[in-house]
């Protein structure tokens, strides 16, 4: 009967979605980044997770050439005035048009120690706000461009929502936000909860201690780079071409955890 056919079709939608997500995981689809000219710019999103997360994030972005990364959007959690103060102090040291600096305030998705049900409810609220500001509104303005081209995150919880929303464009095949996750310097032998959740879904996942993602999980900058291929695992050396300055960080490592030393 037609109803049965309909039910089967509807029932298969989640499967198809799961397949699509699986196929576009950074581990499987390593679309190279678009090449940019020296004088081009790149829009940047920076998540400020409060407290130590924000302090580490500002230490990280202070190493960037901010004339390249503009406009910039800082995402903080509602009520986190400390992060706003720190980032304002940071931005006051930058040159460039202040109109290119944006702030987005998100309701907090999860407070430390919050239960599962209430995390789910507050997460939905965060999701609504994030959907509008980081997906729908940018889509209505200019469907060809994602909200930001590169997003930097380092936890905690609320940034999971940002990644989930950023994935919509990836799933439907539009140009998408590339995401870099930097695990905290404080994580020596285990990942944070948001790190564990997000590891397969970000383009670059960096730890600052070699065993933070578990023993033997991280790809070292100076060691052979294990690369999964269709027929199994093959080893290929990280390029050491002296003429190419960028070769020490072999890109991309396709969903693998990277350890590059201390970044902050």
């Amino acid at each position: 009967m037609d109803i049965a056919l309909l039910l089967i079709s509807i029932g298969s939608l989640p499967l198809l979605l799961a397949l699509r997500i699986y196929l576009v995981l950074p581990a499987h689809s390593a679309a190279p980044s678009p090449r940019r000219k020296e004088n081009e710019t790149c829009s940047l999103g920076v998540f400020l997770g409060s407290g130590g997360h924000t302090a580490e994030m500002i230490a990280l972005i202070s190493t960037l050439d901010m004339t390249r990364y503009t406009p910039r959007t800082y995402v903080h959690c509602r009520g986190d005035d400390m992060s706003l103060r720190l980032v304002s102090a940071f931005e006051s040291r930058q040159t460039g048009d202040p109109n290119n600096i944006h702030h987005l305030s998100l309701p907090r998705a999860r407070k430390v120690g919050q239960g599962k049900l209430s995390t789910f409810q507050s997460g939905l609220k965060t999701l609504r706000v994030a959907l509008w500001y980081t997906f729908l509104r940018p889509l209505l303005k200019d469907p060809s461009r994602p909200w930001v081209e590169v997003l930097l995150i380092n936890g905690p919880g609320t940034c999971v929502v940002l990644v989930a929303v950023a994935w919509i464009r990836r799933i439907i095949g539009l140009s998408y936000t590339r995401i870099i996750y930097v695990e905290s310097f404080a994580r020596v032998t285990s990942l944070s909860l948001s790190g564990k959740i997000l590891k397969p879904f970000v383009d670059v996942f960096i730890v600052q201690w070699p065993d933070a993602a578990g023993k033997g999980q991280a790809v070292f900058k100076t060691e052979p780079n294990k690369h999964e291929s269709g027929n199994g695992v093959e080893e290929d050396k990280v390029q050491t071409d002296k003429t190419n300055k960028k070769s020490t960080v072999a890109m991309p490592t396709n969903g693998r955890v990277r350890y590059l030393g201390w970044l902050i």
């Binding site: 980044s33 678009p34 090449r35 940019r36 020296e38 081009e40 790149c42 407290g51 130590g52 302090a55 580490e56 230490a59 990280l60 202070s62 190493t63 960037l64 050439d65 390249r68 990364y69 400390m82 103060r85 120690g113 081209e149 590169v150 930097l152 590339r178 870099i180 930097v182 905290s184 310097f185 404080a186 994580r187 020596v188 032998t189 285990s190 944070s192 383009d203 670059v204 960096i206 201690w209 960028k246 020490t248 960080v249 890109m251 590059l260 030393g261 201390w262 970044l263 902050i264």
Partner: protein, 200 residues
């Protein structure tokens, strides 16, 4: 910014718990007994940044601290002073709930006792300060203690506990330049990663 641990004997000390609640530490150090230990060790100025903790009542009463609306107070006290005693050695107490210019406060002291937060640890070490870390063992997911332990094993800092603090502090303050110099940030690593991802 100095990168070497100070070679002379420390005379000023910062105790910091960042934005956390760590009453076991803040209560242990805001006492007359601890002030005596510090005075004996040559400390003349103490700054305590106590975060979300309540100031111990004993301190407010015995030291007669007047705490303002921002949770700040300062006073010079003679911790050995008693009815029959003649010991007039002093220590200047400054308590603050939070500090805006943390880097500046760290730079202004000779030594730091800190909770195990990575931010506080980095700031103290990058400023070349002698550092004693007291991890908060009441935290559920105590990954912070791991950071303190690994940096201790690598020779950058000393680790103690609230229970051992009174015993550990004089020896730690007397340590001479045995700690390893902490590396400054390498600004090229993260920049290269982001530039690569962005396509520069």
């Amino acid at each position: 910014m100095s990168t070497k641990p100070s070679s002379s004997d420390p005379t000023s000390l910062l105790i910091t718990v960042g934005s956390t609640l760590f009453p076991e530490l803040t209560s242990a150090v805001l006492t007359r007994a601890f002030a005596r230990i510090l005075v004996d060790a040559g400390i003349k100025r103490l700054v305590v940044q106590y975060g979300k903790a309540k100031l111990p009542w004993e301190l407010i009463m015995r030291l007669d601290l007047a705490v303002d609306a921002l949770g700040q107070a300062e006073r010079t006290v003679r911790p050995f002073d008693s009815d029959d005693g003649e010991d007039e050695r002093e220590i200047h107490f400054q308590v603050k709930r939070f500090v805006d210019d943390f880097d500046g406060v760290v730079a202004s002291v000779d030594a730091v006792i800190s909770h195990a937060g990575s931010g506080s640890i980095m700031t103290a070490l990058r400023n070349g300060k002698k550092l004693l870390v007291v991890p908060n063992t009441s935290l559920m997911d105590n990954h912070q203690a791991e950071l303190a332990d690994v940096l201790n094993a690598q020779g950058y800092l000393t680790v103690s506990s609230v229970d051992e603090l009174y015993k550990a502090v004089p020896g730690w303050l007397a340590l001479q330049d045995r700690l390893r110099e902490f590396p400054q940030q390498d600004p090229t690593i993260f920049r290269r990663v982001v530039d690569e991802v962005a396509g520069f």
